[in-house]
Symmetry: C2
Subunit: 196 residues, 2 copies
């Protein structure tokens, strides 16, 4: 599988998830691996680049993430909407969801977490920052981004570019119940006149 992906500078990593895309959370430990979907993630710091993601304590992913001390976040494009919803509906405890759903993954460059490029817009490899209380009380896991890359057709030089000719690579945003929305028109803020 030839990769078009290019590294994303770590100080631009927060831009990848700034607009709220649904992500695939990947994990691997002891010869096993898993992938699930998560609509609930956000950056929490630019430098060092840190993110938070909600991973339910009952999931197989959570076990693998804690055991491995890391996880991957892969941003599925619109072409993967069905797969994204499906991997969020079943557990990988009994079977390998990558194989079951035909998801091609490679080992991330720093932590060896599974990273998915085919059909994805970008990925981030993250080292888990252990916060047992927050993980327990809110299922919220913090991570530091240690590597990131994106398909330059949709993200380059720290900027997203959503166009008619890259619709398949555009991020998806879960509205709930298997309904997703993709990015629409771009709006450029202009400083308003402050009155009063």
């Amino acid at each position: 599988m030839p990769s078009n992906f290019r590294p994303v500078a770590l100080h631009h990593a927060s831009r990848l998830v700034n607009h709220g895309p649904t992500v695939l959370v990947t994990s691997a430990h002891g010869g096993r691996r898993n992938v699930m979907a998560a609509a609930w993630s956000m950056p929490v710091e630019f430098t060092p680049p840190r993110i938070a993601v909600v991973i339910d304590k009952k999931t197989w992913t959570r076990e693998l993430v804690v055991a491995a001390g890391g996880f991957g976040l892969c941003l599925p494009g619109t072409g993967l909407v069905d797969v994204t919803h499906a991997v969020g509906q079943s557990s990988g405890r009994e079977h390998d969801k990558f194989s079951a759903f035909g998801i091609a993954a490679a080992a991330g460059p720093v932590l060896g977490m599974p990273i998915v490029e085919s059909g994805c817009a970008a990925w981030l490899e993250c080292r888990l920052i252990r916060e047992p209380h927050t993980e327990d009380a809110y299922d919220t896991c913090f991570g530091e981004v240690v590597a990131a890359a994106a398909d330059p057709r949709v993200f380059a030089d720290g900027h997203w570019s959503f166009r008619d000719d890259n619709a398949e690579l555009q991020t998806i945003h879960h509205l709930g119940g298997g309904q997703f929305v993709r990015p629409g028109g771009v709006l450029h803020a202009v400083p308003p006149q402050a009155g009063g």
Copy 2:
């Protein structure tokens, strides 16, 4: 100002921010109030409805939120993109940003936090759940949603509906640098055939 807003059931509150909209964080305490923009928020639990939002410890908003024990999250529509960017660029410590930028606010029903309906799609009023370590280490503040409402032209019965005739009320999603994207086409996930 007549309001079209209707209450949102608390078990549907997470849907309001599930797709990653940029929000206005509002606060009030001791006769003073403030509003800032935040791209970094996410739900962390359906029931009880809880969210996390990143509020920099250096901000005036953070001081007010901790003092009041609560905050508002208001979801600006596309018509407020300039104002949203502007309130994220200046501090309200020296002047009232609601007045400066012509933002009409009322007192929320449970905590009295400022809520903005004109130009917004929805709002949530949240009680701060004190987590001093997480607030300090990651600027991440947890809150429990105690009231929520939405304009039924864009969110009703727990579902978003983005259409040509409600463009002004659609959520905005910050890409960085004052560029926002609004929702585009909706994608309905279909269960794929699991093979292999």
